[in-house]
């Protein structure tokens, strides 16, 4: 059973490597295939962290341009999806930091007023309410929540990626969960 599982992994890896080799040689058609396979996951990450669909589209494009520029460095030591995901996280967090610097000049205070009842209550289905509530979280809490609870990063990894103390990551995650719980209970 375990052997079969490994065989499947190797087979998938070989197929991916073939695609990657073609992209590395500059094959744009192959790159489009790669893009189509991974765009949903990348866009979901961008959208959830930046909470702005238009900006998420730009970030998604930035991610794939970055993938195109750096794919020569991909050696196949990890799954292609993991590597692309890591590129996406880096692009999004670099943008996040620059956005934060800009916002720091104009932001007054994070509070619950960012949640609009009219927007969450009029939507169909709990999943959309949750997406809406995540989008309404304060930026840093949102980014940490998405990385930890949605994407499965550990606090130590988030701390390194975002240049924060582990304690800050934990505190912001707790804050995000409390805010989400509160807004979803309304």
């Amino acid at each position: 059973m375990k052997e079969g599982f490994l065989e499947i992994r190797v087979a998938i890896s070989e197929a991916e490597l073939g695609l990657v080799h073609r992209v590395q040689k500059g094959d744009r058609w192959a790159f489009e295939q790669l893009y189509r396979q991974h765009v949903g996951r990348v866009y979901a990450l961008c959208l959830r962290i930046c909470a702005d669909s238009t900006h998420a589209e730009e970030l998604t494009q930035d991610v794939f341009v970055r993938v195109w520029e750096t794919i020569r460095s991909f050696r196949g030591e990890s799954a292609l999806s993991s590597w692309i995901h890591q590129v996406a996280v880096n692009v999004v967090l670099v943008d996040f930091r620059s956005q934060r610097r800009r916002e720091a000049r104009v932001r007054v205070v994070d509070d619950l007023s960012v949640y609009d009842q009219e927007e969450s209550s009029g939507l169909p289905g709990a999943r959309l309410d949750l997406e809406s509530a995540i989008a309404g979280l304060p930026p840093q809490a949102r980014a940490i929540f998405v990385l930890h609870d949605v994407e499965g990063y550990r606090h130590e990894e988030i701390s390194e990626l975002m240049g924060l103390a582990v304690g800050t990551s934990k505190a912001q995650l707790h804050r995000a969960r409390m805010l989400l719980k509160e807004v979803l209970e309304k």
Partner: protein
């Protein structure tokens, strides 16, 4: 544990991130308290909802043509000001969130750009209004009182009822001192030969830039509301009193007299408790905190280790000279030394302050989080749980 203590730990509890002793205490409380059990269930329900979120979301329209143009080098980068205008954000704008939820983002293309000119014009007008309001809020002031001599704000001397505005400089000469009210949360005694500027005066961000000189800060608000930026690091108040000196070269000395202060520079952070001092250097950030009564040899070696690539030689002197009350220094060093030397630091620290039951050498060297927290708590170096709510 009472309800408040348990609820502050529930997040770590569901992540299996609590030391075993605390975990048992939380579980004992949960067995007896219906309200806290319900709170836990709500958190678990949230957890389960999050787990059901889609891993993939399709963009509202095809982004490939844009990617293809860019990798072919056909596109001209978007003007930065236009990008800013389109993506101005203070939190999440309603329109943006509606687009996320309803998927009504228009398709890319030249025609769309024309259509965007009208909303862009409206956006510009709104932005101007927002900036006007925010600019007025930015002009919040802090009261300044003259204590001695003739301290100045800008080029003018301080009179009764003087106020320091955001962006203004306060300067004292060799014979003058001033007292600055930090909004409603504390005060700063500005010592002679000091030059500082008020950067932010918001309820959530009280921020000074200390170019050079000495200040004594007393803050009685929750942590992380008062910041002092210096050329070699930012002092983050964690509920405390401290003395901060910055010399003409930008090097700093922070002495904490009450509570705790964090010193940050890039990714490097030192946490300094009352009775300890920490030095900072431009381009290098904060060194390792040490107690003020540490021996001369200890301090000199620490200085070499932190700022002069003292390496193993300096580390050996530090470990030899360390007393059991120098655990704050050794604790920081444990995380800053390369893996090859980390075991040596562990051994010395363990000899001075034996770790509590359950903490092993192997576990600590492997970065076991439960063990790190347990020993940190044992050394009285842990952050108080309530701090964590004031990020």
């Amino acid at each position: 544990m009472n309800c408040l203590e348990v609820r502050t730990r529930l997040s770590d509890y569901i992540d299996h991130d609590l030391p075993s002793i605390e975990r048992q205490e939380v579980e004992q409380h949960l067995n007896q308290c219906e309200m806290c059990r319900q709170e836990l269930e709500r958190l678990l329900a949230l957890h389960s909802q999050v787990a059901s979120l889609a891993r993939e979301i399709s963009p509202p329209h095809d982004l490939w043509p844009g990617v293809e143009r860019r990798i072919a080098g056909e596109t001209v980068p978007e003007k930065k000001w236009l990008r800013l205008l389109r993506h101005r954000k203070n939190g999440v704008m309603k329109a943006d969130r509606k687009r996320i939820l309803l998927g009504s983002v228009p398709r890319e293309g030249q025609a769309v750009w024309v259509k965007r000119l009208i909303p862009a014009g409206i956006g510009l007008a709104i932005l101007a209004g927002v900036l006007l309001i925010l600019t007025r809020q930015e002009t919040a002031t802090w009261k300044v009182a003259r204590l001695e001599g003739t301290p100045k704000i800008g080029t003018g001397t301080i009179s009764n009822g003087a106020e320091l505005k955001v962006g203004e400089w306060l300067e004292t000469d060799a014979t003058s001192r001033a007292k600055l009210n930090v909004g409603l949360i504390g005060s700063v005694d500005v010592q002679p030969n000091t030059r500082l500027r008020l950067l932010q005066a918001k309820p959530t961000d009280h921020r000074l830039a200390l170019e050079h000189g000495t200040i004594q800060a007393s803050i009685w608000a929750p942590p992380r509301l008062f910041f002092v930026e210096t050329p070699s690091g930012t002092a983050v108040d964690l509920g405390c009193e401290y003395l901060l000196h910055v010399d003409e070269n930008g090097a700093g000395t922070l002495q904490v007299t009450s509570g705790w202060v964090a010193l940050k520079y890039g990714d490097r952070e030192s946490i300094i408790p009352a009775g300890a001092t920490c030095l900072t250097r431009p381009g290098q950030g904060p060194g390792t905190p040490f107690l003020e009564d540490a021996s001369e040899n200890f301090r000199a070696a620490l200085n070499k280790f932190d700022f002069e690539n003292g390496g193993v030689g300096a580390l050996h002197v530090i470990l030899t000279e360390a007393r059991n009350i120098d655990s704050i220094t050794l604790w920081h060093l444990f995380f800053r030394t390369p893996p090859a030397e980390r075991a040596t630091v562990y051994d010395r620290l363990a000899a001075l302050v034996p770790p509590p039951d359950g903490v092993t050498r192997e576990g600590m060297l492997q970065g076991n989080q439960e063990m790190i927290k347990a020993w940190q708590k044992h050394l009285n170096l842990g952050m108080k749980p309530w701090w964590r709510f004031w990020q």
